[in-house]
């Protein structure tokens, strides 16, 4: 007897089966086939064996793009976490008009990335941008935001932080508001200072939020694309070339689909490894 629940289960998941076959499995298999071929989209597939992988191993730009992503993460994640946490903590401390501030920080999250990049491209302008106009008022020399190889990736990381921080403030805020009040009351009775309370009650209590923020930012960092695509095109000196941008360049500037697919698989492998390591590490911590 096929159980009713078995049948119902598969029937309900049936749309996903179709969806998965068409839009996940088929493209993945197709991509996997491409890895062993040379293909310029127009024209036939040419079998090249493992030569795409061999090229990848010795491709300085690929490794550069991985390095760039790491730089992005090293700047973006701590910046994101610390600022979001501080903002959330301030917002959580009975500030008037809390909702207004929260809404302000959240605004960039909802606005389209296209609009935001059009805006920031202007703001990053070394000579005419409003960012440097503002710095000038404080007597600070113009900063070569995206025109200097050492500044460019940090600038992009800063912009990504600006765009997403509202989301993380909200996450932390939800975490903070979930902490039972009596924990603080108990600490007050024990005579703990504000700082002690922050480190001994607040931080441990919102640990799960850290995990989420860490993994979300990591995934976000590895899929960095539209910001460097619109603002720097990967330059200067490939300092903002992200993995995904490199895939895009190989695929749509040089029309090397096989190689692009190979980079894609390598990137997917790296992302998954990093996320699994983070999970292991973090889960042990928790």
């Amino acid at each position: 007897m096929v159980s009713r629940e078995q049948r119902a289960g598969h029937l309900l998941v049936a749309p996903y089966y179709i969806f998965f076959a068409l839009f996940v499995a088929y493209p993945l298999i197709f991509s996997f086939v491409l890895v062993f071929h040379r293909w310029s989209i127009v024209g036939p597939l040419e079998w090249v064996g493992l030569s795409n992988f061999i090229e990848l191993g010795g491709d300085p730009l690929f490794w550069k793009s991985i390095g760039n992503t790491l730089i992005f993460l090293i700047i973006h994640v701590p910046l994101q976490v610390s600022f979001a946490l501080v903002l959330a903590a301030i917002l959580n401390s009975k500030i008037p008009a809390q909702g207004v501030f929260r809404a302000a920080f959240f605004l960039p999250v909802v606005v389209s990335g296209v609009a935001v990049t059009i805006l920031w491209k202007q703001m990053f302008s070394t000579n005419l941008g409003i960012l440097n106009q503002l710095l000038y008022e404080f007597g600070i020399d113009p900063v070569p935001w995206v025109t200097d190889p050492s500044w460019a990736m940090p600038s992009i990381a800063m912009m990504a932080t600006w765009k997403n921080i509202g989301l993380y403030v909200v996450l932390f805020l939800a975490g903070l508001q979930g902490i039972p009040r009596h924990l603080y009351e108990a600490a007050d009775i024990d005579g703990a200072s504000t700082v002690q309370k922050f480190f001994h009650i607040t931080i441990p209590a919102i640990n799960p939020v850290f995990v989420v923020v860490l993994i979300l930012s990591t995934l976000g960092g590895f899929s960095l694309f539209i910001e460097p695509y619109v603002i720097t095109g990967g330059g200067p000196m490939n300092s903002t070339l992200s993995g995904v941008l490199y895939i895009y360049r190989q695929a749509f500037s040089f029309f090397r689909m096989g190689y692009a697919a190979t980079i894609g698989f390598a990137l997917a492998f790296i992302v998954m490894t990093v996320v699994i390591i983070q999970r292991r590490f973090v889960e042990r911590e928790v």
Partner: protein, 273 residues
């Protein structure tokens, strides 16, 4: 007294920070009303103001058609994601069937796949289906979302199992249980998925650029991106900002109206997803 000073300090700090987040948008809107020559000035206010930027831009691109397309595409895709993803999420959460954990793991796995990996094969597929330049190409690949499935699954697991049994005895089918019992109980999840998906689709630019070439089928971000990057804007910053403003306005208005839901959605999405 000390507390008051501290509060005042925090308040002014927050105000400065909040300005950093809002000011660029004021500047953007100001830029659409200023004379072109003053666009790059720091102040959002110009020596005179006019709607010329909008007039010129709307004369060049059918942005309202794109608005219509965006609404159609986002709405249908969102409704479909709610229906189909909640179906899968329900099955994964509440029904015992063979392969359930395999499917669950596959869905988790698809969340971390870089989309560029599947971009080209997907396009080839759209071509084979004859969907290029149709709503189908914009909608069908976005009819189910792994994120939504996982969120629904998580939410549905909290519904007491007795309710399902009661409904089965009352005579509901599994679909009936989902839509008549679980849906009304899962408003927060529905709103969360709805808002997040709607926002994602509304702001999606890359996929439309690949599958749509007809001006009349373009969505807002695509049309605006092409307008700003391509030759049509003729380097007129004011009109580019006008296009960006018109594109952002609907989502900002929806956001301001549904602000509480947006923020609650985001908060729950992160913690459960």
């Amino acid at each position: 007294m000390k507390g008051k000073i501290k509060k005042l300090f925090l308040l002014s700090l927050l105000t400065v920070l909040a300005l950093m987040f809002i000011y660029p948008f004021f500047w953007m809107i100001g830029g659409t009303l200023k004379p072109e020559i003053e666009v790059m000035n720091f102040s959002p206010f110009g020596s005179s103001w006019s709607l010329d930027s909008y007039r010129i831009m709307l004369g060049k691109i059918p942005l309202f058609r794109a608005l219509f397309n965006s609404i159609i595409v986002s709405l249908i895709s969102t409704v479909s994601v709610l229906v189909l993803s909640s179906m899968t999420g329900y099955a994964l959460a509440r029904l015992r069937f063979r392969g359930r954990s395999v499917i669950f793991n596959i869905i988790l796995f698809t969340m971390v796949l870089p989309f560029q990996l599947t971009l080209i094969p997907l396009y080839v597929l759209m071509v084979k289906f004859g969907w290029v330049d149709t709503y189908a190409a914009l909608i069908v690949p976005y009819t189910i979302s792994a994120f939504a499935i996982l969120l629904f699954r998580q939410f549905f697991m909290q519904v007491p199992h007795d309710l399902i049994d009661a409904a089965r005895i009352d005579g509901l089918s599994e679909l009936g249980i989902l839509f008549r019992i679980f849906w009304p109980l899962s408003k927060p999840a529905l709103i969360t998925v709805g808002i997040i998906h709607y926002m994602g689709i509304w702001n999606e630019a890359l996929w439309p650029m690949i599958v749509v070439r007809k001006l009349s089928m373009m969505t807002m971000p695509q049309m605006v991106a092409l307008y700003a990057v391509g030759g049509q804007a003729e380097s007129q910053v004011g009109t580019q900002l006008a296009a960006a403003t018109l594109m952002s306005l609907p989502i900002i208005i929806i956001y301001l109206v549904l602000q509480r839901h947006f923020i609650a959605s985001m908060a729950s999405s992160g913690l459960k997803g």
